[in-house]
């Protein structure tokens, strides 16, 4: 029946707002609920994306630093030659040990 469709329908948001207010609906409270619901979807999408990105970046950095400390030339997933020896010094670029040698040499 067209009458019911006509009475049920509000052709615009303004008319819907006027209709709801005339019926005593707290429109402000409802629009707040709408916004909160939409925001919750957006934040849950962010939660899925963000930690994975952070973990990947952090893990990559940890592997890099670990491999560097033990003097590896390369690490899986990292560019070839990423940990190549420093040219000319004959020393491995291996973190604390290398730094200690540098300090000893300066003391002499």
């Amino acid at each position: 029946m067209q009458l019911h469709e006509f009475l049920a329908d509000a052709p615009s948001a303004e008319e819907a707002r006027a209709t709801l207010q005339a019926e005593g609906v707290d429109v402000g409270s409802f629009t707040h609920r709408l916004k909160t619901a939409r925001a919750s979807v957006a934040s849950s999408v962010e939660k899925v994306k963000s930690p994975l990105g952070d973990v990947a970046a952090k893990t990559h950095e940890q592997i890099r630093s670990f491999m560097k400390r033990f003097g590896a030339d390369d690490a899986p997933g990292l560019p070839a030659g990423a940990f190549a020896r420093s040219k000319g010094s004959g020393k491995r670029n291996n973190g604390s040990h290398a730094r200690k040698q540098d300090t000893d040499a300066q003391a002499e």
Binding site: L3, A8, D9, A10, E15, A16, E23, F30, R33, A37
Partner: protein, 207 residues
């Protein structure tokens, strides 16, 4: 070539559709399922809950908007389906989240000749009940609007032509007519229920 279907509703659409759907859901639930202000629907939901859950279902991609069909028409159909399916399948049992079955589209059944006669009788009785409501009976403008519908007007343009009223005036009267139509429908349903319970079949069924 039809435009591609949007995956997400924009923030502006979200609020505009939300308000329009709430106006729709409140009336539809009132007229067809006897919902009244302050009460909940089956499963303990309110019309506001239904609107938000329908919008979320589309926004999260659990339901998809079909390209080439007006978004509002699809959202409205979902509300109708959800209301119908909640009443049909869940009764008073609470459910935490709408299931895909709750969105199952209503089947359009072609009425047989007998039921067509019943439908016509029902609407004739509905218009009589509406015209006899005090707020309608006392006012010539409201009566003119209802009679225009009875005469087959289907759009605001038809109504304006039939009544000579402006579209703004018709919109105002429409707002006033909504709760009156709900009351007329409730009255008609109650009469039908009373008649059934008083009929020999009704008495027999009750005993």
């Amino acid at each position: 070539m039809p435009a591609p279907a949007p995956t997400f509703l924009s923030e502006a659409d979200w609020e505009a559709y939300g308000l329009r759907l709430l106006a729709f859901t409140r009336y539809w639930a009132g007229v067809h399922y006897g919902w009244t202000e302050g009460r909940t629907l089956p499963t303990g939901r309110t019309p506001e809950d239904i609107v938000i859950e329908v919008l979320l279902a589309y926004h999260e991609g659990r339901r998809t908007i079909t390209a080439g069909v007006a978004t509002y028409v699809q959202l409205k159909s979902s509300v109708k389906s959800v209301l119908w399916n909640l009443h049909r399948s869940h009764g008073s049992r609470r459910v935490t989240r709408l299931t895909p079955e709750d969105f199952a589209l209503l089947m359009d059944e072609s009425p047989n000749p007998d039921s067509s006669v019943q439908v016509e009788d029902f609407w004739r009785a509905f218009f009589e009940a509406l015209l006899s409501q005090p707020h309608v009976a006392k006012r010539s403008d409201m009566q003119a609007l209802v009679r225009a519908f009875q005469g087959g007007a289907e759009s605001i343009g038809d109504l304006a032509a039939a009544t000579g009223m402006t579209e703004e005036r018709i919109s105002e009267l429409k707002r006033q007519l909504r709760p009156i139509a709900e009351k007329a429908m409730a009255h008609l349903k109650k009469e039908g229920t009373d008649r059934e319970s008083k009929s020999p079949e009704g008495c027999h069924a009750a005993t």
